[in-house]
Point group: C2
């Protein structure tokens, strides 16, 4: 039924198996820096109607693959589909970040939240996954994803984005049991969500913990990492006769890599604040690493970009277990030609490290 | 002329000398969480007129000392007075962060920038320092401060605050020599600014590098740390017959402590993402440490606050070289009674570590 996979470099690298060259993709590769994305989004009307339309979500997922030699596609969606399905009422105001009509602040709010059933609550996501798999025709693997419970909870409690996370951290400090009850419901929802994506055809999954790095080491362990570990333990790890690797990415967590490396994920994502060679020395015997070029290097010249790619490749060194990526999503004002320089440089410059 | 210092715990701890109990102050201790501050600010009209009025700046500097047993006062001012004096035209819009009328974007913009002369360009800051010293009457030492060149540059180039620092990092990537020219001028201005504060009576100084942590390890070294090292080398280190300790604080720099510890500062500030015991093991033989309680712990109960204080004290352990502080500024919605619990707990619980 499904076409055989023609390029499995990405999946192999995640599992620390041999590859010919280092695979590469970009977080937010289907995004605003591409004029064809902006055109499709305008056609959809707004961001959420783009997410909720499987044909258009498939279209924007595939757009970067037509331009660049990427080694993976990633489902076009948003980490806030889950809390939206839990009843928080996601909306976007012009020029602002995401907001929720019903922020979660009290015990009653949390008791009222359901654990989602992805098949019935988020069918548009699964339809998009199936359509993308079909359209990819085995060219490269498809990545599914979710936000981490802590990261999703920050938006649910704050009612949107935040600078100092005062409300959600206030709840965590003053009513830790309430916060755990909320995180538990989100974690169960995320397990259902990611497993449904895997059953629909996602060949690897990534958990985005964008805001775990705002916590203390012990609060990170208790309020973020613990729930990601629970999720990893609940995931389908093999499908279509092949392993389904799991990537965990906490931004600003360079100090805590050892604890992240042992929660059962196959790969740990790195932002650009850590030297990838140091990260490999610390945890490279346990997991593969994904990252970690500063997205703003793409504002530099072709030479600057190639130099940075070369530095990161030599920092990681010879051998297996590296998926090249940016350390965070690609910025919206980057010239797509610079993204091409980046991706081509990874392939061209990485061959000697795999000989 | 100046009254003898009655409580020098803070200065002694910065220099890793013996103290009876651990000294404590709070970043942004003169701030919006205090009703008396809000009243004075309303009287001043707005934030900048408060900064520019030495009597009112002195008043708000002293307010937290009337409530709490703090071991240091810190000049009430803003890190953006320097770029304002360089001609960028600082203003604040209702409900928004700081902005500049004239952002710095081109070579011509940078060439046109002066290096400030604090005596003539920022007399109100020096008047405030002198007045505060006089009003303190030797009760506790007064801290002067400045932003770091990189942190100041982010506001100058972005024209205000930023989320992804796309413009300033774009300049750094595409025109590194231009960025160095800008940072050099800011560094020279900061040296003049801090030395003028010291001559006016500041007994210790802190360099706030709020945004150094958004860089890669090597860009941090070249574009932030290098200029802080230059500043430290240019500072007056002894005044009124006593050493003037220097504190350097980069937020989100836990991975880079070893490199920060050797730029010549007496003390390294820590945010809450690092265990202070780990930090001490890494650099405690070179510098004292300042920090590092998550400000949001102050939303918790008195028990929760005391427990966290106890954990940080025991994390640092016995001996000298710790100034207790929050890991960042106190949040505006914190109950001042909780700040009192925090400060009293540091004093009460720290005595056994100095016996």
């Amino acid at each position: 039924m499904t076409a055989p996979l023609q390029n499995d470099r990405f999946l192999r690298a995640l599992l620390r198996e041999n590859v010919d060259i280092t695979p590469v993709w970009m977080m937010r590769q289907a995004g605003r820096y591409l004029p064809e994305y902006r055109e499709t989004r305008a056609r959809a009307g707004n961001f959420m109607s783009l997410c909720m339309n499987p044909e258009l979500a498939c279209e924007v997922t595939l757009q970067p693959l037509r331009r660049f030699e990427l080694d993976a596609a990633i489902l076009f969606s948003d980490i806030l589909t889950v809390p939206d399905a839990m009843g928080c009422g996601l909306y976007f105001e012009q020029g602002e970040g995401p907001k929720f009509h019903k922020p979660v602040r009290t015990e009653a709010d949390i008791n009222a939240l359901p654990v989602i059933n992805t098949e019935s609550d988020l069918p548009y996501v699964l339809d998009a996954v199936k359509l993308i798999r079909s359209e990819l025709g085995g060219k490269v693997p498809l990545i599914g994803f979710s936000g981490s419970p802590w990261t999703i909870a920050t938006y649910m409690v704050e009612g949107g984005g935040s600078k100092d996370f005062a409300t959600v951290k206030g709840m965590m400090m003053a009513q830790p049991q309430l916060m755990h009850a909320l995180l538990e419901k989100i974690a169960l929802s995320v397990i259902d969500y990611l497993n449904a994506q895997i059953r629909a055809g996602a060949q690897a999954v990534q958990i985005f913990d964008t805001w775990g790095g705002v916590l203390t080491p012990h609060d990170y362990r208790d309020f973020s990492l613990h729930y990601m570990e629970k999720i990893v333990a609940g995931l389908i790890r093999e499908n279509e006769g092949r392993k389904v690797p799991v990537i965990v990415f906490t931004k600003n967590a360079g100090l805590w890599l050892e604890s992240i490396a042992v929660i059962g994920a196959d790969c740990v994502g790195l932002d650009w604040t850590i030297n990838i060679g140091d990260a490999r020395k610390r945890i490279g015997d346990k997991v593969s690493l994904q990252g970690n070029m500063d997205p703003s290097v793409l504002y530099g010249s072709a030479d600057r970009i190639r130099r940075e790619v070369g530095d990161i490749l030599s920092g990681f060194g010879h051998g297996n277990g590296h998926v090249f990526n940016l350390g965070h999503g690609i910025h919206q004002h980057v010239n797509p030609d610079h993204a091409k320089v980046f991706i081509d440089a990874v392939h061209e410059l990485s061959a000697p490290y795999h000989s």
